[in-house]
């Protein structure tokens, strides 16, 4: 092999180390997984409740994020607003904010004595913290930026000329969005939704801070894993962790075209 084509040894070795560092913990998880009793661990009533609750909360959170996040993404992509750049930056804050801090912030906004929460409580009798709705809210808070940035890029990148064509054919702005923009950006929006859902499913910090860890109401999978570890049920914790790992790998497979750029 000519010198020109030899792989650079130093970079390749360090890269290999980094890859091992990322993959070894997952291998450890698989190695210690209680394969013989995994069915029992996962069908245990507490585990099943946590699974069902996780699924329910994450789907609701994704729905909530889409319902308000898509219009927000559209505005960020298409409407000339003063302060739009600032708004875009603020929307991304939950992406980098430690989730625990997000939970505290949610408490201060929607807690019983919070900025908004006090009126929710005194006017409508609605209490969010330490309820399932609170868990949904916490998950939506951390998951929505993933949907918004994906959707904004899609709306920005969509060929506006098709929308112009639809307008000249008598389509109102809403019809243009529904029949042209949405179908043409559908794949990207779905990817953003899957991404947001995966993030919501794995949410821990904001949920435990804002919604607490109450079995059957707010004990989602990650919280249940933590609870099991704390109480010494290592094997059950690993079994539930495997579920989350499998979901993550599945999401990666679904989105592989978008990220790896390979067919």
């Amino acid at each position: 092999m000519s010198r020109r084509h030899r792989p650079p040894i130093v970079a390749t070795s360090i890269g290999g180390l980094a890859a091992a560092f990322l993959l070894l913990p997952l291998a450890g998880l698989a190695w210690r997984a209680p394969w013989s009793s995994i069915v029992d661990d996962l069908t245990d009533p507490a585990a099943r409740t946590a699974l069902r609750l996780s699924l329910l909360c994450s789907l609701w959170a994704t729905f909530l994020a889409a319902a308000v996040g898509l219009p927000l993404a559209w505005v960020l992509a298409r409407v000339e607003l003063p302060g739009r750049r600032l708004l875009r930056a603020l929307v991304l804050v939950p992406l980098v904010l430690p989730p625990v801090v997000g939970g505290v912030a949610l408490l201060l906004a929607f807690g019983r004595r919070g900025l908004v929460g006090q009126y929710l409580d005194s006017w409508f009798g609605i209490t969010l913290p330490f309820t399932m709705a609170g868990a949904v809210l916490a998950e939506a808070f951390v998951a929505m930026p993933f949907l918004v940035i994906t959707a904004e890029a899609a709306f920005r990148g969509a060929d506006r000329r098709y929308e112009d064509a639809a307008r000249t054919l008598g389509a109102s702005p809403w019809t243009v969005f529904r029949r042209i923009t949405l179908p043409l950006t559908g794949r990207a929006l779905a990817a953003g939704g899957v991404l947001a859902w995966a993030r919501a499913l794995g949410e821990f910090g904001a949920t435990i801070t804002f919604a607490g860890n109450t079995p059957k109401r707010t004990s989602t999978l990650p919280l249940q894993v933590y609870l099991l570890l704390e109480s010494g049920h290592l094997e059950s914790a690993i079994a539930l962790s495997m579920v989350l790992l499998v979901v993550c790998v599945a999401v990666l497979v679904v989105l592989r075209d978008r990220w790896t750029g390979l067919p």
Binding site: R161, Y162, A166, R167, T168, L184
Partner: protein, 356 residues
Amino acid sequence: MTGSAARSGLDAEVVARVGRFELQAELQVEPGETVAVVGPNGAGKSTVLRALAGLLPIEAGHIALDGVVLDGGPGGPFVPPHARPVGVVFQDYLLFPHLSALDNVAFGLRSRGASRRTAAARARTWLERVGLDEHLDRRPGELSGGQAQRVALARALVTEPALLLLDEPLAALDATTRAGTRRELRRQLEAYDGVRVLVTHDPLDAAALADRLVVVDGGRVAQAGTLDELTARPRSRYVADLVGINLLSGTAADGRVDVGGLVLTVAEPVSGEVLVTIPPAAVALSLTRPAGVARNVWPAVLDGVERMAGRARVQLRGPVSIVAEITEAAAAELAAGDSSEIWVAVKATEISVFPA
């Protein structure tokens, strides 16, 4: 509104700005008339169409269609694009890639409130009219260029607009598809009785499809008129070079074209119905019958002379009317001599022939 105002056609004075480019153009078109806006790329042609369609609000002036003001400029009335009785055939057609041919054509009807069944039935009728009844379920990606053009035309016409706008409708096609599609487009345009505005950079398409031409240059109208007027009396070098061509139509066979009373020898092997173009500068004139090798020689009568920047455009009557561009000195010689008979000569290689 009076009866005549209801069909008064298009009256537009468009002043628009795109970035640093400013456009100012006037346009009057009667119902049943086709006007071609001609100019090179970047001359402001598409901006005119976007303003007429309502996709670009004008900065000053007005756009009125059949007596209704669609855009009165800033502070005036503005009818949004989806409420205008306008159909557009876009450059590259812009068929919706996720919808079938049938759904593309039905889109305008559905948007305007037609039921699914009514819209589908009328879309089907239109696709049959343009000869695509076997391709109803095809997606745009599965259609050829000529087929896509016909779907785009059906989509624009199915809502029966009062104004039809066509943006470079033939530019996306290769030479072989082009002639057939142009002939078909001409037939469809004649069957449609609204106002037709066509934008093109190709003078041949403009000449073949339009009744009148509006030549734009750098955001301004350089000259407007019929092709014959523009060829005989171009007001600028720009207009002369862009559209000032002799255009004849005839029937070709065996390297010869019969253009009505005159048979031209041409270099290109074509047959059937054709369009023939002869650049005025390629037309040679003399007072005696030329003895040279030019195959196409015929006698003509002087009909008028236009002087323009050191050149003269000489109009000649004969078996066919033709314009020659010669030097002013040569024109003076012709005028001094016995001009009752002038000999016209054109080399076969100077004649371009296109399938009509």
